[in-house]
């Protein structure tokens, strides 16, 4: 699992995850995600397009990041999930805590509209 955080503009970061978001990967990236992607005053778009599997620990990682951002007054949006990952997100109804949209354009539009 590789991660990459890119500033899209002064108030929005994009976290790109790549590979399998399983227990081993979560152990490896959890601290890094919280340190680099959960920043006060910065909304976060999470690009899931290169993620081919997400385990329950991965779901917990996303929920924790969304909650931390909310506590810091920022927002998070997930986008680009492949069908199998999308199925898992649907099963856990994660959109009740963090919006899930199709692509980056929709994610940016959602932040702009709010």
């Amino acid at each position: 699992m590789e991660i990459e955080v890119t500033p899209l503009d002064p108030t929005v970061n994009c976290l790109r995850l790549q590979g399998r978001l399983d227990a081993v990967a979560v152990d490896r990236i959890e601290v890094k995600v919280n340190a680099s992607a959960v920043a006060p005053g910065h909304d976060l778009l999470v690009d899931l397009s290169a993620v081919d599997f997400v385990a329950s620990l991965g779901i917990r990682l996303l929920i924790t990041a969304a909650r931390s951002l909310k506590a810091k007054g920022a927002r998070m949006v997930l986008f680009g999930a492949q069908p199998l990952v999308g199925e898992v997100l649907e099963h856990v109804a994660i959109d009740q805590i963090v919006p899930v949209v199709a692509d980056e354009t929709a994610a940016r539009a959602l932040l702009a509209a709010a």
Partner: protein
Amino acid sequence: MSDDPRDTEFAPNERTTIMMTMARPRPPMSDEREHYLLQVAGTEPGRRIRFGRQPLRLGRRPPAEALLADGEVSSLHCEVVARGSAGDALVTDLGSTNGTFVNGRRVQGSMRLTQGMKLQLGRQVFVHEYRTPAEVAHADELAHDLDKASRYVQSLLPPRLAQGPILTDWCFQPSTQLGGDAFGHFMLDEHRFACYLIDVSGHGAGAAMHSVSVMNVLRQRVLPGTDFGDPAQVLRRLNTMFPMDEHDGLVFSIWYGVFDRRDRLLRYASGGHHPAYLEAPGTHELAALRTRNLVIGAMDEAGFTAAEARVPEGARLFLFSDGVFELHDRTGRAWALADLLPWLSQVPPTDEAPARWLQRAVLEQARPGPLEDDFSLLAVTFL
């Protein structure tokens, strides 16, 4: 006391032996790393085989030094040996019939083996470790604690119901790391039967402790002011009782259902959980039972909804954790939920142990090796 024979002195008298033992400090544990093969699947999980610069042969019978009781293992199967640079080892296939595999790749001649790589012979799977004796002792202690936690979870699982109008069968196969699954069933009263399955998102003793806490609340029915016949209310109360902020960041998914024999309705609610499946007798058709709710503990103000399904006589409910379908098959392909479903409809209707039948069928499809997650499956037949 020391058990080193050099600490014992013998008097030079044939009739009398004077044994004198001397206390001396135990030599400090070496901090030099050594090579081990830790068995993670097969006949003796947990077994650790040490090897060094002297080649060690693995096989089914002597002269192999490490013996493996497995019909798929050849008499002399392969050998392992430490190499010059630290942590490096070499595995050589000794012309075995069924092959030696490193990380799923068949060894042609010899192959390098480094820390964490998997070595497989027949159904026996090992992980290569390069550790100090102190680290090994620590790992053994942790494994022992996990084993105890696993036994505790298993001791709380309900007896299977083999007679009466409702029959149950289940299997619980914990992963080596213990995945935080738990399930159970109980009669609410003479008419109503309740069953549930929870899966804590995490591994190890912490996740197991959390699942046991939730399980005990359900077993004892100690959620204040809760009607256990109302699945949505049960989930709502659990969500209030187990917020992640107060439970080390842990959340869990749950499927909870109550069957009433009087109206033959199954009322159910799920939180962050994939569906359970109800199969009508003789049809092979599966109805997905799920309500769209968040995992438990993630958000204080989350709402929870329930639904109901009519249960024909002879219908069977399958309730399982994601460890049952999030596995890799023998070709290395990752399964998803859709890959499991055809197997549910293939369970023979008259089989008295449908959960264990499914467990065998599914694990035969799976790549040999340790389970990545707990494998928990509950089957309920409503007569």
